[in-house]
């Protein structure tokens, strides 16, 4: 009697492996969904010097706080 119940338990445990893999995939998937675009201060400062960052914006109002040339 004792031996047969252990066999039953083992059979129940076997299909657990693919289920665990499924859970793992779901965790990875939700991680990708909440990922945000973040930058450190140093990285952002580093991009300030590139030529693209110094071009005059296409639409910039004529206003006293707007400078004629880019300043760093």
């Amino acid at each position: 009697m004792e031996v047969s119940s252990r066999r039953v338990l083992l059979r129940h445990l076997e299909p657990a492996r693919p289920l665990r893999r499924c859970v793992h995939v779901n965790i990875l998937f939700s991680f990708v969904l909440v990922e945000r675009i973040s930058y450190t201060r140093d990285f952002l400062i580093g991009l300030a010097g590139c030529p693209e960052a110094k071009k005059r914006p296409e639409y910039l109002p004529d206003h006293p706080i707007v400078l004629p040339e880019a300043v760093s």
């Binding site: 109002p61 006293p64 707007v66 760093s72």
Partner: protein
């Protein structure tokens, strides 16, 4: 609430009259041209250029200045606030920032605002009305550096509070300058605490720096009490 582009026209003409006397005919046409430009900006969705570094959100720069000799009124705040431009990438941000005066070089009662696109820097905006702001008072001479560090932390998503951040403001005043960061939910203490701790870190503030959290509801009430009004329609 007035159309904001009508408000900008009033603001421009007011500034010309205050600072430079009566505008010439050619100058009178500028606000209308500005309106057209602003409408183009509004209609055109800002997107990162090819090869540029996208930001998590698009943002808009605003500028406001209290007109000398004109007392604050229910309409003047919205009339005095001017949209400078919107951007979607790091490179586009630097293009605007590098073409704008630094806060430390501003004179008078002036504010720069940097808010997520679609959120007006006003207490009454849907995104702000349940929110509040952390305020840090700075002695003169620190505003430019602190403002830059604050907005870089916001653009770089350093606050780690999900969608909670609405925008940031630097206010240049007579004896001191003030920087503040606005969030959506004033009652969320975990969020406001995380914003406070991040502020301390990114601004490298001394431990004894006083930081004050103020709900927009309280700001509106204080504004109403000060002006003896029942309904306020201004916010910063």
């Amino acid at each position: 609430m007035n159309n904001k582009f009508d408000a900008l026209k009033d603001d421009d003409s007011g500034d010309h009259e205050q600072d430079q006397g009566s505008p010439k005919d050619s100058e009178k046409e500028k606000p209308e041209e500005d309106d057209k430009e602003q409408n183009i900006i509004k209609k055109k969705m800002v997107v990162p250029g090819p090869g540029e570094h996208p930001l998590q959100y698009n943002y808009t720069f605003w500028y406001s200045r209290r007109t000398p000799g004109r007392p604050a009124s229910t309409q003047s705040y919205e009339q005095n606030i001017k949209q400078i431009g919107s951007f979607a990438s790091v490179e586009q941000f630097w293009r605007f920032y590098s073409h704008m005066i630094r806060p430390g070089d501003l004179t008078g009662h002036s504010d720069f605002h940097l808010f997520k696109e679609g959120i007006k820097p006003m207490w009454e905006d849907d995104a702000n009305k349940m929110g509040g702001k952390w305020i840090i008072r700075l002695r003169k001479g620190l505003a430019s550096r602190c403002w830059e560090n604050l907005i870089l932390a916001m653009l770089g998503e350093q606050f780690m509070v999900g969608e909670e951040i609405c925008g940031a403001v630097v206010s240049v005043r007579f004896q001191e300058d003030i920087i503040s960061i606005w969030n959506k939910t004033a009652s969320d203490q975990a969020t406001t605490a995380r914003i406070r701790d991040t502020l301390r870190r990114v601004l490298n503030l001394p431990p004894n720096t006083i930081m004050e959290y103020k709900t927009h509801t309280d700001s509106i009430k204080a504004w109403e009490d000060f002006h003896g009004l029942v309904n306020a329609s201004g916010g910063r």
